[in-house]
Symmetry: D2
Subunit: 111 residues, 4 copies
């Protein structure tokens, strides 16, 4: 993960793209890539979506889009000085407290 952060940073530095990689722009780019990812699933039935990785072509596109989303998320976190895994871990602990196992079991109700 640290290695990915460094490689994405080097990729941007080599191309002199830091000027474009402001937090606002990166948040937009992230939203754009998530839009492309969601478009892969929009017309699929739940069953087709669940089996998407067995389709070589569609599965390849999904993997590529997930890669794009991860690249921009990694870059945005780096630019902001946020540790991605730590941010997710901290949030996961918080959500775990908000949705205790006993009460949340099998329910998607928001708290």
């Amino acid at each position: 993960m640290d290695d990915l952060t460094s490689r994405v940073r080097a990729f941007a530095d080599e191309r002199d793209w830091q000027q474009f990689h402001t937090p606002k722009n990166l948040a937009m780019a992230l939203a754009g890539e998530v839009g492309e990812l969601i478009a892969e699933f929009q017309w699929l039935t739940p069953e087709q979506a669940a089996a998407v990785m067995s389709d070589r072509e569609a599965g390849g596109r999904v993997k590529a889009e997930i890669g794009d989303v991860m690249i921009y998320l990694t870059r945005l976190a780096d630019v902001l000085g946020i540790d991605l895994v730590e941010a997710a871990s901290t949030k996961l602990e918080e959500v775990a407290r908000r949705y205790p196992v006993g009460q949340a079991r099998g329910s998607a109700a928001k708290r």
Copy 2:
């Protein structure tokens, strides 16, 4: 990273939430969280956005939203059997070939 994947999976399993965590639903949840993240930046000037982490409150919200995005991205990749870091690395190599350093330097033009 592998550890985060396991913890997110355990979190869902314990709550019997696998039933909700279909690829379609997780892609939607990811888009929803990215929407919350982008909302943190929408009215900020580029300068304010760049300094957002020095604001304790806004910075905390941004970190929490990035954590949420990472949780759902990790979960979606896990459900699809995709290695998140590998997918990003593969895509980064591909993009590096499409935007060679010499030609892409300082330009945001799409190819």
Copy 3:
């Protein structure tokens, strides 16, 4: 529709919010609101989603989110000098040519 455009514009003018309503910011705000809308549907089964308007509370939230999306879309189009209905009509005609009735019938395949 023209009336809505005028009212949204007056709303922004009265509050001196034109300064925030740049195309970039409005595109972000639009994405943020679409994120909130999608979040209303993310954990619903297709059946639950189809019946969402019969649920008074959830239906009210969906209507409010759709209203928010429409407000920002109207505002963004106004700021850019685009006629929303004309832009949609033109695009619909173009898509109709790309997906002729005979060939596209019952298929979601992208062209």
Copy 4:
């Protein structure tokens, strides 16, 4: 606007696409199109974004993307039985009450 709703509905009916046009799928399609729209602005400076419509090519793409967003928003509202303009008007009145002119003037602070 009513006319656009009818034309989008006829477009879907003729192609037997009602089966794909569930609320969940349409919300995803809407998010996908907003992702394409936001991608048009992501690397532009605020100044470039403000002038995007004077660029024939980029302006044409922006108008087309706004058309796409409007088509899916119109379709989603129709499928849910929501009047788009009425939903936006109702929400605008509510927001106007929440942000009274005197207090909200020149401030983007959320309430």
